[in-house]
Symmetry: C2
Subunit: 341 residues, 2 copies
């Protein structure tokens, strides 16, 4: 009997060990398969191991593993224009029949006539009018429905792909890898919060409550017992530049230990992440691939990367060279061979 | 050999079944032990079962199980004054040596002289000045340190207990029960977000990113490479009344399926929660226990419960009668026998 019990116990231990090892085995698959074995992949994996290994001196408790990501140019493309801007233009075209006056009114006339010169002349003020006409004066439910309808049928002007497929496969892998390692992943972007929430959960695996962006002042209203929330034509928060650490502090209330951006609008977010004790990872996606994506930095109007690039070099932040470090850009592409030279 | 293998397999199945059953066994302990078997306990448990049982027609996916709770008067006491107001008064006393002019200046003079009449005469305007002097013009880090120092040593004027012990044991059990059942629990309160975040994780098990409250406009600043976030003397959001559904929509981006409050300031939050399809639970803590806590509703200046009580009765919301439904109020008390009549 004793022997039999001991054998059972031994078997039980083995079974238990096997069961407990399952999650570890699952994690053992090589992370970041769409990344070449370059300096960025190395720095990401080394950082994650440093903060997650229980015996590490720099171990960070799971609840403090906050990772923040810009969206435009960091998680998805932003050329030939910010995708949300292209949505706003499409909305103006869709709404034009209800606004016959737009035919003779700038900046709407420029959008309807596809007049890039007039649109550029309208500057930020014109753009703001287009944003107000497409993003404000409706309830949050109505806005979500509009974005949903657009996302499902709009196509990118040069690739012909749905915008939600023009996301960076290597960054999707970073998001997933971090979550597997106990991180909470957030979007912190200049885009409209309500706009991004429509697709962030499905596309990035980031739930609505982890999407932080620019916001309009909203108002609670209750008509005949049917409450709704109105997006007024007043901007509440511009989630760009110094607005990013502000919203991180306000919404998350913890300092991130990892931050990824791609432009000067992300500089303060990275700086804020860097300026705390303990291990930190600050990353910049550098758009260097004119062939597979777009190549731009210091002189670009969209996603200008100038000061932040200098600061990244000075302070040793991780700069991702898209052209050489990414085996593929989009999920719909085949991966290039490892480390093509 | 066959028999032996079969026996091993059978043993393995048993072990596996036992291992898999462990979480279920843990859950099987009777929830809400500090609640009498009254209508509120029944409605909470029935609601949770309705939305969590996989075969339920009204099953709600875990990511959509959002539960929101007011803080003052719902999770902790709010008498003889809102605890954060008492913190503000203590801060004025602490800072007085640096402000000799306060000796002759209202409303500060009233605080320093403990002159309730003069304080009442100062009204909201006076109170706002006290809040600005204690809550603004300092960095978020400094403010957190101040609150931490206060929380660790301040004592409630009538019970002599730390404020963080004057939390409702029955509500702590509701929070824990909901989280065990896959809910995400949030605070949505008129209190200052940064104030509540100092103790919410330790006391309620609610992490900073799930604490929503009133906020000041903050500004990012960077002096000599040391970035910080300044709380300016301008209110950004008043998280009371209609401000609650607004912040829920802005920060969470999902409609809660359970909301708990105790005053008219929670009316719109409960109404917003109620006005969606699918099962919902709207609860009000009714302060009926003058002996063990305080008894107040329609005529109270603090935590007035008037319109919301009428609406709750009309619409069949859950009204918790503290005196009869709670076996104890605070964690430091012994529980009363079950259902004393």
């Amino acid at each position: 009997m004793r022997t039999s019990l001991a054998t059972s116990a031994a078997k039980f231990s083995k079974v238990l060990a096997l069961l407990l090892a399952l999650p570890l085995l699952a994690q053992a698959a090589e992370p970041l398969p769409s990344w070449n074995d370059g300096p960025s992949k190395k720095s990401i994996i080394e950082f994650v191991q440093t903060v997650t290994k229980p015996d590490s001196k720099s171990f960070v408790k799971p609840e403090e593993r906050i990772a923040v990501f810009d969206n435009d140019g960091t998680l998805w493309s932003e050329q030939p224009g910010y995708f949300e801007e292209l949505f706003a233009f499409d909305e103006i075209r869709r709404l034009a029949p209800q606004h016959p006056e737009w035919k003779d009114q700038q900046p709407f006339k420029a959008v309807l006539e596809n007049d890039h010169k007039a649109l550029a002349e309208g500057g930020m003020e014109g753009l703001l009018k287009i944003f107000m006409a497409s993003h404000a004066g409706l309830t949050t439910d109505q806005f979500r429905n509009n974005v949903q309808a657009w996302v499902s049928k709009a196509r990118h002007p040069t690739t012909g792909k749905p915008y939600t497929e023009m996301v960076y496969q290597p960054m999707l892998e970073v998001l997933q890898y971090l979550r597997e390692q106990g991180f909470k992943t957030y979007i912190v972007s200049g885009g409209d919060t309500g706009f991004m929430r429509v697709f962030a959960e499905e596309v990035y695996g980031i739930p609505p409550e982890q999407v932080i962006g620019s916001t309009f002042v909203t108002e609670y209203q209750n008509q005949d017992g049917k409450p709704s929330i109105l997006r007024t034509a007043k901007i509440a928060h511009n989630d760009d530049g110094p607005g990013k650490p502000v919203s991180i502090d306000s919404v998350i209330g913890r300092r991130p230990i990892l931050a990824f951006g791609n432009s000067d609008g992300d500089r303060q977010m990275l700086e804020w992440t860097a300026a705390a004790t303990g291990p930190r990872l600050m990353g910049l996606v550098h758009h260097t691939d004119a062939k597979r994506e777009w190549a731009y930095d210091k002189d670009s109007k969209i996603g200008r990367l100038d000061k932040a690039l200098d600061q990244a070099k000075q302070q040793g932040w991780t700069i991702v060279d898209m052209a050489s470090e990414w085996r593929r850009i989009y999920p719909f592409e085949a991966a290039a061979p490892v480390n093509p030279q």
